[in-house]
Amino acid sequence: MPAKRQASRVRRQRLRAAWLFLIPMLVVLAAVAGWPLMRTIWFSFTDASFANISEYGLVGFENYLVYDNGAWYGVLADPTWWNAVWNTLFFTVVSVGMETVLGLIIALTLNAQFRGRGWVRAATLIPWAVPTIVSAKMWGWMLHDQFGIINEMLMGLGLIAEPLNWTANADLSMWAVIMVDVWKTTPFMALLTLAALQMLPSDCYEAAKVDGIHPVRVFFKVTLPLILPALMVAIIFRVLDALRVFDVIYVLTSNSADTMSMSVYARQQLVEFQDVGYGSAASTVLFLIIALLTISYLYLGRKQIGGEA
């Protein structure tokens, strides 16, 4: 084979243009994400305070873990932090699980042919469009311990004898948070699942129909395996999103320990307790958890992302 020539001038110009187009975006990303992230990690090794963030001293790993006078201190030794980790994981698994199942049911329903399908689909988008804060407030009102319509409904149906204090009761408040999140994000799951369903080939269904296979069996043997890749993408996006949950919990139950997530914990340390060093350490741990998950996802889904130009 003859020697390979260098890319032509035209091609080189094009490459140069591509990088020129990319650099502004990369610079902005570095300014709003890269640099702040590095500073957060840096602060996690300092004793900076929120009120005066420019004066600080280095304290090493003290914010993470330190042994002092016979006791462990630092984020990793803080039971409140581990409680927040547990809350976040519980919230993530339960709400994403429920959203997936409900989303699947809604998607299967919307996949059927019926009059007014467009309207129903539009209606399912409403919760998605409602700001999280607003949905938390709306549900806060519906779940109100004295005047809430949910209590009224449940009492009317005879399911409960007296009103429940949804947002303050330690056993119920996490479920209240999950309820709001499920309401708000199920549409997202439903739409992504619906899109996957609509790309399925119809011939294997016809074959199954001809063979007289029960619809439930068809769903588990044909539909589910076929939409699984798309469903997995949606689930992973939702999981990564749920792990950083903040708004719903903050608005619905404030800084209550029963529902505190990692993000709420970190922000409380940072802003309310003004302890930038400690809060940054918590943020960094959260970042590492999500980064680890993201990297493993990107690694597994690597081939999909490259694509073709």
């Binding site: 084979m1 003859p2 020697a3 390979k4 020539r5 032509s8 001038r9 035209v10 091609r11 110009q13």
Partner: protein
């Protein structure tokens, strides 16, 4: 004034070699058609000349100047794409003027050019329309207009008619031919349709698997195909190709070839490179056979007769061969399906291809070859 020369062009995508080594010269003002089956590299060659693709090695020259490193605009090419690729948001006028505007021409000059182009292509009434408001043929004309507006030295056409229906294709073919007569610019045209190639080209380049099989006028390609591939590719219905073997002496003015199931044919080809018993392929065009009815016990069976109005195709089965032989017959045709016939032809009308698929040239007298031998020494 623009002649194009491809010198030792190699094009490789990753591991796949599209063009191993191409050398080709296109003269100024010529209408050249690249033809071949899909995947033969004809579009790649066009795109290399356009400057949309870089050769892996080798050089492209236009008018003796190496342009391998130049942009399409610097090369002075205009191109018509298969899917038209008109800018959907621009009017016909803007589509044609786009390249001129980028060339920083003056406004009234642009208008003049666009109007001249529109007049040539009968687009005057459509200048304000958007591409989606045009028919397929009109879009095609706009695409041509856009390509020629800057008065390029070379016009390139990448299967421009394949999206049109059959009758429109014939009409556009004529218009492109007229355009070439009028502009006298070099035109390079890619198609997989051999009829388009035959009707439009001054010179046809037949490609197969990235290699140039033959370059020649439509007449040369039809009358003296250089290879088995060209013989099979040019001409409709296809040339009849039959496996045979040399029978007896070679190097004489006539050589006998034995064709299984058909018998012996005599050809006057240069066979001195072969020897007795060598396998060859014999090719005869459908119109070069003469048919005669034979008795019921010998000859070949007629399997089908296709009546086309101006002529008829008679399909004959050759025992042991998968493809049917086809013979063109004037109408009225007396032969009927089920009858048995014998075939005959003239020695000078028979094409012979060696085992590697290369055509054997016409027989040259001994003295002549001796002379040539002396000259080279």
């Amino acid at each position: 004034m623009a002649c194009v020369e491809l010198k030792n062009i190699n094009k490789t995508f990753g591991q796949i070699e599209i063009l191993p080594c191409v050398n080709l010269r296109i003269e100024d003002g010529e209408f050249v058609v690249f033809v071949g089956p899909s995947g033969c590299g004809k579009s790649t060659m066009l795109r290399l000349i356009a400057g949309l693709e870089d050769p892996t090695s080798g050089d492209i020259e236009i008018d003796g100047e190496v342009v391998t490193d130049q942009s399409p605009k610097e090369r002075g090419v205009g191109m018509v794409f298969q899917s038209y690729a008109l800018y959907p948001h621009m009017s016909v006028y803007e589509n044609i003027a786009f390249g001129l505007k980028l060339g920083k021409a003056r406004k009234n000059k642009i208008r003049e050019w666009v109007e001249k182009t529109a007049e040539v292509l009968q687009l005057e009434k459509l200048l304000d329309r958007k591409p989606r408001e045009l028919s397929g043929g009109q879009r095609q004309r706009v695409a041509i207009g856009r390509a020629m507006a800057r008065e390029p030295k070379i016009m390139l056409f990448d299967e421009p008619l394949s999206n049109l229906d059959a009758s429109l294709r014939v009409q556009m073919r004529t218009e492109i031919a007229k355009l070439h007569d009028r502009l006298q610019s070099t035109m390079i045209y890619v198609t997989h349709d051999q009829v388009e190639a035959m009707t439009l080209a001054d010179k046809i380049v037949v490609l197969n698997g990235g290699n140039i099989e033959q370059v020649g006028t439509p007449y040369e390609l039809y009358e003296t195909p250089a290879s088995l591939f060209v013989a099979g590719f040019i001409g409709s219905p296809k040339m009849n190709l039959m496996p045979g073997s040399i029978d007896g002496e070679v190097g004489a003015p006539t050589t006998a070839i034995n064709i299984r199931g058909l018998g012996k044919v005599t050809v006057n080809r240069e066979t001195s490179s072969l020897k007795d018993g060598d396998a060859v392929t014999v090719g005869v065009r459908p119109e070069h056979f003469t048919l005669a009815l034979s008795g019921p016990d010998h000859g070949l069976e007629v399997v089908n007769v296709e009546y086309l109005g101006n002529e008829a195709y008679v399909y004959v089965e050759l025992p042991g061969m998968q493809e049917l032989m086809v013979v063109r017959q004037p109408v009225p045709c007396e032969v009927q399906t089920g009858q048995r016939v014998s075939l005959a032809t003239e020695p000078e009308l028979v094409h012979v291809f060696d085992a590697s698929g290369r055509a054997l040239g016409p027989f040259k007298a001994e003295a002549e070859s001796a002379e040539r031998l002396a000259a080279t020494q």
